[in-house]
Point group: C2
Chain length 284, copies 2
């Protein structure tokens, strides 16, 4: 197996995964066990049991989410917009193959219908089976899986969703279009008149240009744009930004999260996550 | 040079630093240039010019602070307690060899005297000369350098300081005593009756036991203990905790930082940094 995968290697009998995401920074994880390993039509899908981060979803050699910290990202991209929209019933998730976002949304009784559009069915099936800490073995009848291109799916929708969550990978390769203005425009049209969207907008430290571009594009299209941040230990730099676009001005209501079973998000965090460090304020 | 340092290696002509801090996680940085390299009586002191994080202070092969993100840690451990104490005049810094904490404190006109007790003189001299982004080439007459053991220095002081900042390395080897109850007790005695102390209390994710222990020990000794967090990209997991011990109950006054030239800290951050994620609240 390792012969065909430059990101897997053996040293003194131990298996290591080395991410090749950056030319100037390499992170290597000691691996206890390969739980799952299969090539889909789109990418190399692995579930690895690591010593430091527990089970990890690894796509084409890049760590996407882990048992130790996957909940932080998934809770932050879900509960923060849920605390803002007064009554979200119909939700669209674009991406989110690890099922963690859908799992968090299912904690709200008011949510009636979730369309989850993920291009790679193998990622979804694998995470439900082998990454239960993140996916919660998602099996909720409100979740409707669509294994298709999120851009094409969203472009066909008008005035339909209360909330759209874009849980994309980095803006290289196929995910690049998920950071384009045309895509945000189609989300604006797919939302109801009081709808809101949220997307991950990369690292404020290492991708300040992408972050600013997302924020600017969303600001231009939506009545209101808001940025918030969270710590995501397995992402480079550990610091991540999210951008919300609202078609109407709506105040967050942090008490909406108070009865939810969460590990990271609570009322205090929903209140404080919009406080931005000085350098981000200056970039925006 | 590289032959004697297991953490430096060459691959395809490029120099790489690989931190050996964890058995199960290795981070490697591509190095443009070795700016400074000398063994002190205590450790191997290097300043490396990296591609990803700019100049880095590296002690015994472990990255301590960098040009790209050093200000976050130094601003957070300085301005947050400065916003709490109503009128800090005399300050003790234990550790802080990169001079970044002293640099931040010198932004306050009310500060009259800073004792900076760092065991390794070579670290201080090197950072002043070769790491100006962090040290600001510190040369303020209010800063009094003491090149000695911080534990012994603090033990000889009674009722003398308004603020004590413990800018320690990790609780292994020589820095272990800086996390002991006896040490916190000596800080309590070295503080005036309305004095406060702050220390870094490690990663909430990877050193939850140390974090809880610091918080518990400080809670038991001081009238009030408060924990806050910040993102420090070059520290493992990117998420770091700080613990304040106050001899009197004092409310933060975030407006004290508003006229300071900072890159990370602002009024919003001082207000929000005490909002703790749910899992930290549960640990404490």
């Amino acid at each position: 197996m390792e012969r065909n995968k430059p990101y897997l290697s053996r040293k003194n009998g131990d298996l290591w995964l080395t991410e090749d995401e950056y030319d100037n920074l390499k992170v290597s994880y000691r691996i206890k066990d390969v739980i799952f390993d299969q090539q889909s039509s789109f990418q190399d899908v692995m579930i690895l049991e690591s010593y430091h981060f527990g089970r990890m979803l690894v796509l084409d050699g890049i760590v996407q989410t882990t048992s130790v910290d996957g909940h932080i990202y998934n809770e932050m991209i879900s509960h923060v917009p849920m605390s803002i929209h007064p009554d979200p019933k119909k939700v669209l998730i674009i991406g989110g193959g690890d099922c963690g976002v859908a799992k968090e949304l299912c904690k709200y009784d008011g949510v009636e219908h979730i369309d989850m559009v993920e291009i790679d069915e193998l990622v979804v099936k694998t995470c439900i089976e082998h990454l239960p800490d993140v996916s919660g073995r998602l099996a909720d009848p409100r979740v409707h899986f669509v294994f298709d291109d999120g851009v094409i799916f969203a472009a066909g929708k008008k005035n339909e969703y209360d909330l759209i969550i874009v849980d994309s990978s980095d803006p290289i390769g196929p995910a690049k279009v998920l950071f384009e203005k045309d895509f945000y425009q189609s989300l604006h049209e797919a939302l109801k008149e009081d709808g809101i969207m949220v997307c991950q907008s990369q690292s404020p430290i290492f991708h300040a240009d992408v972050m600013k571009q997302s924020y600017t594009r969303i600001s231009e299209l939506f009545e209101e744009a808001k940025m918030y941040t969270a710590v995501v230990p397995t992402y480079p730099g550990g610091f991540w930004s999210f951008t919300i676009g609202s078609k109407q001005h709506i105040q967050p209501n942090p008490s909406k999260v108070s009865d939810k079973e969460t590990k990271y998000v609570n009322e205090q965090i929903v209140n404080s996550c919009f406080s931005l460090p000085q350098f981000i304020t200056e970039i925006l």
